[in-house]
Amino acid sequence: MRLSKRRGLGLASAAAVTALALAACTGPSDSDSNGADGDFTPLTSIKLQLQWLPQAQFGGYFVALEKGYFEEEGFDSVEIVPSGGDIVPQDALVAGDVDFAVAWVPKVLGSIEATGVELTNIAQVFQSSGTLQVSWKGDGITSVADFEGKRIGSWGFGNEWEIFAAMAAEGLDSTTVSITTQDFSMNALLDGDVDAAQAMTYNELAQVLETVDPATGELYTLDDLDIVAYEDTEGAMLQDALWADTQRLETDPAYADAAVRFLKAVAKGWLYARDNPEEAAEIVYDIASNAEAAFPVGPVHQLWMMNETNKLVWTGAEFGVIDEAAWKKTVAGALSAVNQDGLNLITEEPPASAYSNEYIKKALAELAEEGFDLSGAYTPIDVVLTEGGQ
């Protein structure tokens, strides 16, 4: 009796362990790969993973969704999945949770080397870097060389590599510069806890300019600040890019076909956002504050963000095409950067499959045939910020 009970327990626990192990092994199943014979059922349902909550930084994708551009390219259902910092876009892509992901190039390069995953950058949406280091006028921090002996704020989470790459190019390291983690508000700068705070042109810079200067009773202005733009330094790295699963691109013609159609819709979305920044900002603000419960900063802030984002997307180069020189600069920066813990982001060149212009070129060619011109520059509008961006 006693023995059999024990054996029963043993069996039950063995069964439970096996079930758990099996559950852990069951990954996503690629049931619809039809080989490379070119005969496939087109994908009609895809998911795009963002790297943050809905905001105008992702304007083009939401415009494409709202304006029906995905339907025009043959997608019945497109889901844009936000991340609250909990989802790492490239991880979600590797796990098969989503079909495409928005992520910064250096972060994905780090993942590729660290875990050996195979991902391909199929479109470089942001052509230039939007990262800044912001300090108060008069503190004398007008270039990366001035960081020496100063306290420099950074968010971490992979957003810091441009700082270290730019410092490496100036021969500075973390023994001469004090790097400190800052939160996502700009209080560290406003309270003088850091000498220079990290900021994106499209977000945190605006937060400073939406704050009242207690000395004057008016909002801070750009005249109060010294700004180092990493785009102007050796540390500049490529940011928001669209990533796809390399293996799936090679083996699944339906996926490769969907990638091109997806890029066409996205390009049209960004084109609309370029030509109608006010409406695009409104679309994102509306989705973010209602459908997604993302509690975005107010509508004026979103318009500022749309305007600044457009400047990064539409530099005069062709939409989404990866500039080889910029890619090489990013890789060189990633190789040279050493963080405050003495760690490298990557130690060897990424594989050649890490980026491909094949899909975006094909998408642009098809769009050109349809009469879309996707090579213009953006004419910025004037955005007057208000307190709290409301």
Binding site: T26, I87, A95, N290, G389, Q390
Partner: protein, 314 residues
Amino acid sequence: MTEYAQTASLVVARRRASGRGWAAAAWGALGVLAVAVVWELYKFLGPAEGVTIGQVEGQTGSGVMILPRTHDRAMPHIWSMIIRLGEPTSGGSTPPLFVTVAQAALVTLGMAAVGWLIGVAVGALLGLVMQRWKLLEWGLLPWVVVSQIVPLIAFAPVVNAIGNQIDRSGTPWPQWLSVAVIASYLAFFPIAVGVLRGLEAPDRIHVDLMRSYAAGYWATLLRLRLPASVPHLLPALRLAAANAVLGAVVAEVSIGMRGGIGRMLIQLAGQASSDPAAPWGPMFGSIALGLIAAGSVALIGLGLKNYRRGEANT
């Protein structure tokens, strides 16, 4: 005692009870007022940049701050916080902040309630088996205690990852369930310990009496041990409710679940430079949430009044 006297004494007792209720409410309001007064007083008297000792000239961020900053970004006026509650959450035509806070608090309360239920079920089961078999108590109790040492922020992503895995393999596992499970992880502990101690609470003499009646385990459990455990159980349930709310808020933040009060707090805190009063909305919301959760459990106590002899502190 005559019937009249009995009624009279009842009325007096009731009046005394309601008087105590009012007094308690007044003390409560006074306490809240006192906090507000202390806040404003310090804001008025304290230096705007706070007090930092051991600061090295020209070295930003050196020294230790011993008194907090008092300027409007660090410490908004109480009335700014209240006014902000009535203003649109995200500007434009979005609903007022207090409405959004209430909605988010409800979402969190729902997850905390599910977590509490799971916690109570698991905790009660553990308590029962640990009381029934001494061997299991020796084997399990240390692990139950150790389980609470695991930091929640390390544990939460693991639960979330397992949940995603289950969801991906076909069985639907919504994200709120992960939050509820994490909340239950904090909630089950006081229940398990409370039930164990409660079931062991009857005097030896009473247990012996039951034995002399030839009452079996179940009869003893039902007629003696469970009623005797109530004074231990009620505080445990209340502790579990508070833990479940805490767990739900922390879980939301660490797994990035949107819609609840924890995520809202983080989100608004990120915008606090230009809108410093806004994060206080969800902060008030989570305080209200804790009170509601503990209060609802107190209602259970009303139904079990007859068994509450000797409860140390209500």
